[in-house]
């Protein structure tokens, strides 16, 4: 397993970072988080036409660039750092991956080219109001009537679920339980019987929706009833991408703290010259570098399809959950009173850290998963 990025990967990172510096300054983040859609259509278009980012890990045969989770991780890390408001995680990562993992070749060929170009946006609906991130917690049912299926139930925490062109929904066959009967479906965003409501969230920079299904017509994705392994795999990929995004945010919190403590004067000297402040920053650096190492290893493991990918993905998510929140809290602390104001930008990352901490399962959940999958 490689421990350094290649020169090409570093150059790619620079390009993405430069694009995000231009398109996602905090004034933009603040403007978009007040809107219902939560993203800028023009930036989304450029992100796809100029950099092809939605196509990144889609196979070339399906209109993609054929890169791996390592490159995807780089993109997510930079987006997390810039706090980009865009349906990238929801559509380009989650829904795209769900189609790759659960769909058959025909369905992939039908759905992915339009998603890879950014023209159609998908969302992934797994979790329900009970908040569980695993097959057992799925209660939404699929009822078969001839060749047609109808869905009944409720999904929550669906990222960008209110704006997506279509939703990939995980449901279970009526009467099944546990990992049995888990099925994937696609549902049009404007399907009859589907109610979509934007949720009020702590983190306004990432929109979440609650979806209610009342006899909603749905197309099966892959073989109905046999979706549990794909769901497992999708969750591993999801936490890997999210961990990358989170360590990017944590790095930003460290950089912001260092910059401020070098400038702010008290007692006739920069507060960064006080040892209590230095030691906190040194500890932040250690924690952030450790969490980055974990995220990089998880991405590499997923890219290689390594056997220990589930354990490493959970390890990386547990590390990122603890580290990002701590870094954001430390960054506020080091800013003093101004750090607690709305005008100071730190809270934007703090809130992203807080919601990411529990998204797809919190650190405790993933530590347990990590041990269940531990290779030794």
């Amino acid at each position: 397993m490689a421990f350094v990025f290649t020169e090409e990967q570093e150059q790619f990172r620079d390009i993405v970072a430069r694009f995000l510096r231009d398109t996602s300054p905090t004034v933009e983040v603040r403007r978009l988080m007040e809107t219902d859609a939560g993203f800028d259509g023009g930036v989304w278009e450029r992100l796809n036409s100029e950099l092809g980012l939605s196509a990144l890990h889609v196979p070339e045969a399906l209109g993609g660039q054929g890169f791996s989770f390592v490159e995807l991780g780089i993109v997510c890390e930079e987006m997390g750092r810039a706090l980009l408001c865009a349906p990238y995680l929801s559509s380009a990562v989650l829904a795209t991956d769900a189609i790759l993992q659960a769909g058959d070749l025909g369905q992939q060929a039908e759905l992915l080219p339009a998603m890879a170009s950014g023209g159609r946006r998908g969302a992934l609906a797994v979790t329900e109001p009970n908040g569980g991130w695993h097959a057992e917690a799925v209660e939404t049912t699929a009822t078969r009537n001839g060749a047609a299926y109808r869905l009944d139930g409720a999904k929550s925490f669906v990222i960008d679920g209110h704006t997506a062109d279509f939703i990939v929904v995980v449901a279970r066959e009526r009467g099944s339980s546990g990992a049995d009967g888990i099925s994937f479906f696609t549902v049009a965003g404007d399907a009859p019987g589907l109610d979509r409501r934007l949720l009020e969230t702590v983190d306004a920079t990432r929109k979440q929706a609650r979806l209610t299904f009342r006899g909603v017509p749905a197309e099966p994705l892959g073989e109905p009833g046999a979706g549990a392994p794909a769901l497992e795999r999708i969750l591993v990929d999801a936490v890997t991408a999210l961990a990358s995004e989170m360590v990017g945010g944590a790095q930003q919190m460290l950089d912001s703290a260092i910059e401020y403590t070098k400038l702010r004067m008290q007692f006739g000297r920069a507060i960064g010259s006080f040892q209590a402040v230095k030691h906190k920053c040194a500890d932040m650096l250690l924690e952030v570098e450790l969490a980055k190492s974990a995220a990089y290893q998880a991405a590499a493991a997923v890219a290689e399809g390594a056997e220990d990918a589930p354990a490493l993905a959970s390890l990386a998510k547990a590390a990122a959950s603890d580290t990002y929140l701590q870094a954001a809290a430390d960054c506020i602390q080091l800013h003093g009173g101004i750090g607690f104001t709305w005008d100071n930008d730190t809270h934007l990352w703090f809130k992203r850290a807080k919601s990411s901490e529990v998204l797809f399962g919190d650190a405790t959940h993933h530590r347990e998963r990590m041990l269940e999958h531990w290779p030794e």
């Binding site: 421990f3 350094v4 000297r269 010259s273 030691h279 969490a291 590390a319 405790t364 530590r367 041990l371």
Partner: protein
């Protein structure tokens, strides 16, 4: 040397070992052969007992040695700090005289840096060296000197000028430990072992050719020694374990490990023995407890992340790229790992964590971990000093106001230091 591929190097070393490796050869004779051919330290320069190979290829050579069960050069202990320092700063005389016997294991070394009055503040040393026209004459005291009771030579930092700022008045020497002016008293540590010592100098002598740095320029050389010591603390270093194989050379090596390596036998314990955590948690069924599972998982997350971080630093270095901040974090990470491991061992052992020796878990090994771990965050530079270095050098944070910038003679220091 022309560029050689890993496969070529492996084939070459295998062939050489096939022709020469013989477990009944005397240890020193064998290691002299390694020094002559370069196979003992292939990453060292060709002129000095190596082959000039890049580090990854040198690891491949080590692996081939391990596969054959072939004994390598003497590596562990302070001698590798001496070797690294002399390779970088020594002249030809020093390299000729000292390096070979470091590799054969005939000489043991110690690091004469810390003093009763100056530990973290190493540049505040007050052990003095005065030139009498023919030789340097050393007076003063060092402390916490690991292995001094076995050592033939010491790496000495001594003050040669009291009228300049403290970093500019130090000189770096090699000191012959086996002379009348040097007295060594062993100190007992809180874990019962006695690996470090007090060392007293009364008119100890150093010939001029044993001076390593220019007069007054010893601090720079000491930094090299410390950098190697701290880099070694990132947890990737292997410890010497006696082999159970038969043959004269293995017996001689086992004797070396039992005597010269004796001061280091608790070092794996001071690092926390993470390797024992999962097996112990399973054997004791404590792994069924969800609280224990959480703590074990936290520890593994820390250990793995620290290991990957160290390997990122190493990989960048091997590719000749500038190391990122990850290169300076190993020692601090190792302290965290050691403390966390001790906590988890305690959690797993429950009330048995109170017992030591034959009554304690694993015949006292767990107890030895618990009472050895505190050394990790002190030896080789404390955690607080590491944080200062990271904040100022890596993060570029402003320095603290200092009270010790004038001539050393006028700097306030501990009562009792000369």
């Amino acid at each position: 040397m022309s560029e050689r591929s890993e496969a070529e190097v492996r084939a070459e070393v295998r062939e050489w070992l096939e022709a020469h490796w013989d477990p009944d050869r005397p240890l020193v004779e064998w290691r002299n052969m390694l020094a002559d051919t370069g196979w003992g330290v292939p990453h060292w320069p060709r002129e000095w007992f190596g082959l000039g190979l890049p580090v990854p290829l040198s690891q491949a050579v080590d692996e081939e040695f391990a596969k054959q069960g072939a004994v390598g050069v003497a590596k562990a202990g302070i001698r590798h700090l001496a070797a690294a320092t002399l390779l970088e700063h020594g002249d030809d005389f020093h390299k000729e005289r000292f390096l070979r016997r470091i590799l054969t294991g005939e000489d043991t070394w110690c690091q004469l840096f810390s003093e009763p009055g100056s530990g973290s503040d190493l540049a505040g040393a007050t052990t003095r060296a005065d030139f009498d026209g023919q030789q340097w004459v050393v007076n003063g005291q060092k402390v916490w000197t690991t292995s001094a009771h076995h050592a033939q030579y010491g790496l000495l930092l001594a003050r040669t000028d009291w009228d300049v700022p403290k970093h500019q008045g130090l000189t770096y020497f090699v000191l012959d430990m086996e002379q009348p002016g040097v007295e060594v008293h062993q100190l007992r540590q809180m874990n019962g072992h006695a690996s470090f010592n007090q060392v007293f100098f009364t008119d100890a002598r150093i010939p001029p050719e044993y001076q390593v740095s220019e007069t007054g320029n010893g601090w720079r050389v000491a930094m090299t020694t410390l950098a190697h010591e701290r880099r070694g603390a990132d947890g990737l270093r292997a410890h010497a374990f006696a082999s159970e194989r038969v043959g004269r050379i293995y017996e001689e090596e086992a004797r070396e490990i039992a005597t010269i390596m004796e001061p280091y036998k608790w070092y794996p314990q001071r690092a926390g023995r993470v390797d024992l955590v999962l097996p112990r948690a399973r054997e004791t069924s404590r792994l069924d407890d969800p609280v224990v599972r959480q703590e074990v998982a936290k520890l593994l997350t820390l250990v793995k992340s620290a290991e990957w971080t160290a390997r990122r630093a190493r990989a960048a270095q091997e590719q000749g790229r500038p190391q990122g901040p990850e290169g300076s974090l190993g020692k601090l990470a190792a302290s965290h790992v050691a403390r966390a491991a001790a906590r988890v061992h305690t959690l797993i052992s429950g009330a048995d964590a109170m017992l030591s020796g034959d009554d304690g878990p694993l015949d006292g090994l767990i107890a030895e971990i618990l009472v050895s771990v505190p050394a990790t965050s002190i030896a080789g530079g404390t955690d607080e000093i590491q944080r200062n270095i990271i904040a100022e050098r890596v993060l570029g944070m402003p320095k603290e106001p200092r009270m010790d910038t004038g001539p050393f003679r006028d700097v306030p220091r501990n009562v009792g230091s000369s």
